[in-house]
């Protein structure tokens, strides 16, 4: 425990750190964050084994994704923060161009074009923006004073708006909102006035009606209506929510035991290994398991904020703040939607839900965090 406390302190206490963990520092690894992530991903694999219907193949594949993601994280952590700062506008431009490309050449399903297909390799350009967006806004603001002046705020909003609108056109409301949020979080961290925030909040409330009328698609409206009254469509859209609430509630405090969740093992729970995996966890491990997961997430988020506070540059602070907040948004939205608090949007439970893309993006983000935590400025070499 003593070691742990000391390690938690390391970004700020370089003398202590250089003595205790020189290797970690040389490798640009934030040991507490890494340990938390390892515990989280291992726990995620345990839950996934049960949620996938006890298919070892699913666990192995997810494990491979994790290995890839840890590799990406490691690489991301090695890159100098200044390089991120320099490259971000070019990546932003590339991302925007690809998003425009999606609109013209994109492929997709269910009435949405989200992928670009390059030589048989399909990927979502919006995924790039998840990291590039905070980097770019932070790049723009880093050369200016904080809190930013009004015209710079407007410029930032434009930077946020362009890719967000492009993604909204795909249409992919959930991702558009997440990416917009990641840019806005940078503004928030940069200390824009509360009047802007409150004003934006009021504007959002005021626009609820026109958005409902003119922007939301029918299926999106249906999701919100289903949230308000899942019983209205028991076997259709309400099914998922009713079954996931049943799974969570029937877990109780102790849970039914690993692999013993009836809702998940007997296929009552849809998407049990992807977006709804928290319901499996809640059913089999009970509220205890949920608390354990929440504690892990909270520690990761707190570690993220710790890095914000001890970062050496405004750029690093803003990026780290945005990444941490965005990570938390994933947690909140996913856990909220599965528990019937929020409408069902396609947001995975970070690092637990099965899937490759989101894991790689998230871990790249953590690599960025580590790069910030172990950055050059003021660091002993």
């Amino acid at each position: 425990m003593g070691d742990y406390v000391r390690q938690l302190q390391f970004p700020g206490d370089s003398s202590d750190l250089s003595r205790r963990a020189p290797l970690a520092l040389r490798l640009h690894l934030d040991v507490p964050l890494l340990l938390l992530l390892v515990v989280l991903t291992l726990f995620g694999l345990v839950v996934l084994y049960s949620a996938s219907g006890q298919k070892m193949a699913a666990v192995v594949r997810q494990g491979q994704y994790f290995l890839l993601a840890y590799g990406v994280m490691f690489l991301a952590a090695q890159i100098d923060l200044k390089r991120y700062q320099r490259w971000s506008p070019w990546f932003y431009l590339l991302g925007v161009l690809l998003l425009v490309g999606v609109i013209f050449f994109g492929v997709g399903a269910k009435g949405a074009q989200r992928w670009l297909s390059l030589g048989g390799f399909r990927f979502q350009p919006s995924e790039i923006l998840k990291l590039v967006m905070p980097l770019t806004v932070a790049w723009y603001l880093s050369s200016r004073t904080v809190p930013p002046r009004f015209k710079y705020v407007l410029a930032c909003l434009l930077l946020v708006a362009i890719p967000s609108v492009l993604i909204l056109l795909q249409p992919d409301l959930g991702t558009a909102l997440l990416i917009a949020a990641s840019g806005l979080f940078v503004l928030f961290m940069a200390g824009i006035g509360w009047s802007y925030i409150v004003g934006a909040f009021l504007l959002a409330c005021a626009s609820a009606w026109p958005v409902w009328m003119y922007v939301l698609k029918d299926y999106q409206k249906q999701r919100i209506l289903t949230l308000l009254n899942p019983e209205s469509d028991k076997l259709g859209a309400g099914w998922n929510i009713i079954q996931s609430k049943t799974a969570i509630g029937s877990g109780g405090w102790e849970g039914k035991g690993w692999l013993n969740g009836t809702q998940s093992q007997l296929d009552f729970l849809p998407e049990s290994h992807t977006d709804f995996i928290i319901a499996v966890l809640a059913e089999e491990f009970g509220l205890r398991g949920v608390l354990f997961l929440m504690a892990l997430y909270l520690l990761i988020v707190l570690r993220g904020f710790w890095i914000v506070v001890y970062a050496n540059s405004n750029f690093g602070r803003m990026v780290a703040g945005s990444i941490t907040l965005t990570f938390f948004v994933y947690i909140f939205v996913n856990m909220g939607m599965v528990a019937g608090l929020l409408p069902v949007v396609g947001v995975p439970l970070p690092l637990v839900s099965a899937g490759g893309t989101s894991v790689v993006t998230l871990m790249a983000g953590f690599g960025l965090l580590m790069a910030i935590a172990t950055g050059d400025s003021g660091r002993p070499r």
Binding site: V146, D267, L287, G321, F328, F332
Partner: protein
């Protein structure tokens, strides 16, 4: 704190970030608190609700239908057993589009209108997630087709269930009856709980009469199913109690003999063991294959059976009401003796006809048109029975009067249902002045008494009633309700006798002796069947005039003549000294008793001669019962 801050107001900027970070932490904690509150609410406060819901999701209570009791003949020959049959059922809740699924299924296998109708009806009264049967008796090929297509038809299941089967087809159609699919009306009267999972119920005959015995008690099992309704494991199980196996008094050999003897003729044979009332044979021809009815008869098959002029669905043995004709004469003679109107020695003048005092109308004896004269100048009781003299009984009937005749003959069970343990029995008619006033609102005419005296006119009896009456004659006044049921699960069912006729032995001796002469005398009306006979029987022939059978009022032009011929009847018990079998035979439009008597002889031979060795044990048992 960081040592190098490349910004103009490092302290101020750092404060901003720290402030925003603190705010973020508080926001995160608050939002996590909201989430936690929600999970706490679901998992702790509403735990019971969701636990129950989850159990209801996965656990289903499935009824386990009991195995229907088997039916055996007296020697252990299986008359009704159960065979596995594959049933196609649908669970409404799991079907997305019922119409499309039904259309799909109809592409794969034939589903009749009545199947669909039945299905739609049952769909209305099922419990949630209960499988409703659509098609029974799937063939191997149909099952294979369904198995291949199952994946695209959620909610469609194929189960094996034991279904009634009658191994002997038409042989026992009227004796045993049959089960059929529970219809709407039956569903309302049957106990819903007892018949969960059971699709069949006794419709007719023993199958219906002993439904409660044969059905058994339903069992239940709690099964865990997945979201697709597939049973994964059984959590707990309460076994059903199978229906009782029952043994009937019926004798397979005797039944077969009677059916063969009747051949193509329409008629009925009822044989009863006089010592215990056990029904040894119950045949009505033509019969039908009862298996047709088990899983829903096709409308073409049903139409053929219903519209056949031979009315095979009509159970002549218990529903056919025929004028008993001369078969009542032994009972009339007994009544005359009891009433003191005749003695064995007293005689009546027989010119071949009879007329009422002050009435010129002549009531002819049947022999008049054959011989042009009566049986003899004077006829005594013995001759009157042996040669079936009408004049003797016209005179007796007149003196006895109709109401006393009614009282004496009712001791033989005529005019009331015998109470045999099967369904749809009819009571026949034993007329009286009161009966005629009540049913026809008309006075009784003296001439009608004479017709009644020879078993014609209003008098009607079923073959079952005649056989039962013959047992009363055989046992000298002991009456037993005829019984098909011999034992239940090995327990023999008692059948107590009531003495319905009390008379001096000499009277019985005289009547029995006259009945013996019917076959065993040179002038007996059935002397032809007495050739090479190895036992003695007491019997009586009968011929009844056809006025028209209400039950089969379908007349085809060419068949009118045939259908107007007299019915032949014959009753007998044997062996003469200690009777072990009483039999009544009727051959519709057989012309006369000569059509019926050889059939009775065949049945008696089968019982007394061919089976004597085999069945001595059973008879000893039957004697013990008596």
């Amino acid at each position: 704190m960081p040592q190098h801050i490349p910004l103009k107001d490092p302290g101020g900027e750092a404060r901003i970030f720290i402030a925003r970070t603190l705010f973020s932490v508080l926001l995160v904690l608050a939002l996590l608190g909201v989430i936690l509150a929600r999970y706490h609410d679901l998992q702790i406060n509403d735990y019971e609700i969701y636990r129950t819901q989850s159990d209801r999701n996965r656990v289903q209570l499935q009824p386990l239908p009991p195995k229907r009791g088997l039916i055996y003949d007296r020697n252990g020959v299986l008359l009704a057993d159960n065979r596995p049959s594959h049933i196609l059922s649908i669970v409404r809740e799991r079907v997305e589009d019922m119409d499309a699924t039904l259309a799909d299924l109809q592409q794969l296998l034939p589903i009749s209108e009545s199947d669909l109708e039945n299905f739609q009806q049952k769909l209305q009264r099922r419990r949630p997630y209960e499988a409703v049967p659509l098609r029974f008796r799937l063939t191997e090929e149909e099952r294979a087709l369904l198995a291949v297509n199952r994946h695209r038809m959620p909610g469609v299941t194929v189960d094996a269930q034991l279904v009634r089967h009658y191994p002997h087809g038409a042989l026992f159609s009227h004796a045993v009856g049959y089960v059929g699919r529970i219809n709407e009306r039956e569903a309302q009267s049957l106990d819903e709980r007892d018949y969960r999972g059971t699709f069949h119920v006794g419709k007719v005959g023993v199958e219906k009469f002993y439904e409660d015995l044969l059905h058994g008690e339903v069992g239940y099992q709690n099964v865990e199913t997945n979201a697709h309704g597939r049973v994964l494991r059984v959590l707990e199980r309460f076994d059903p109690v199978p229906g009782a196996d029952i043994t009937l008094h019926l004798d397979f050999q005797l039944q077969q003999t009677a059916l063969a003897a009747l051949g193509e003729q329409r008629g009925a044979v009822v044989a009863i063991d006089p010592l215990n009332g056990g029904v040894l044979a119950l045949v009505s021809t033509p019969g039908f294959d009862t298996n047709l009815f088990v899983n829903g008869i096709s409308s073409a098959d049903y139409k053929a059976l219903r519209d056949s002029p031979d009315v095979p669905l009509f159970n002549r043995a218990i529903q056919g009401q025929y004028p008993p004709g001369s078969t009542v004469k032994p009972m009339m003679a007994m009544a005359g003796l009891q009433a003191g109107l005749v003695t064995p020695e007293s005689t009546v003048a027989d010119p071949g006809w009879y007329s009422l005092p002050g009435d010129s109308r002549r009531y002819r004896d049947w022999i008049l048109k054959i011989r042009g004269t009566g049986h003899a100048p004077r006829v005594d009781m013995h001759m009157a029975v042996a040669e079936s003299c009408d004049v003797y009984f016209y005179d007796l009937a007149r003196r006895l009067t109709i109401d006393r005749m009614h009282d004496y003959l009712s001791g033989y069970g005529l005019g009331t249902r015998t109470g045999v343990d099967t369904t749809n029995e009819r009571p026949g008619v034993l007329p009286s002045t009161r009966w005629k006033r009540d049913t026809m609102n008309q006075p009784w005419y003296p001439g009608e008494t004479l017709s009644a005296g020879i078993g014609q006119g209003y008098m009607l009896a079923t073959p079952m009633q005649l056989a039962a009456a013959t047992t009363v004659l055989a046992t000298r006044g002991q009456s037993r309700t005829p019984r098909l049921l011999r034992s239940v699960a090995g327990q023999t069912q008692p059948n107590e006798a009531r003495e319905t006729i009390t008379a001096p032995p000499a009277y019985w001796d005289a009547v029995h002796d006259s009945m013996r002469a019917v076959v065993h005398s040179a002038r007996g009306t059935a002397r032809k069947i007495g050739e090479d006979i190895r036992y003695q029987m007491a019997s009586k022939t009968g011929t009844s005039q056809v006025i028209g059978i209400a039950q089969n009022a379908i007349y085809v032009e060419a068949e009118v003549a045939e259908r107007h011929r007299n019915h032949g009847l014959f009753i007998a018990f044997a062996p003469y000294e200690s009777p072990t079998i009483a039999v009544a035979v009727i051959v519709e439009n057989g012309g006369g008793a000569s059509a019926a008597s050889p059939i009775a002889r065949a049945v008696l031979d089968a019982w007394l001669v061919e089976e004597a060795a085999l069945d001595s044990e059973a008879t000893a048992g039957a004697l013990a019962d008596g």
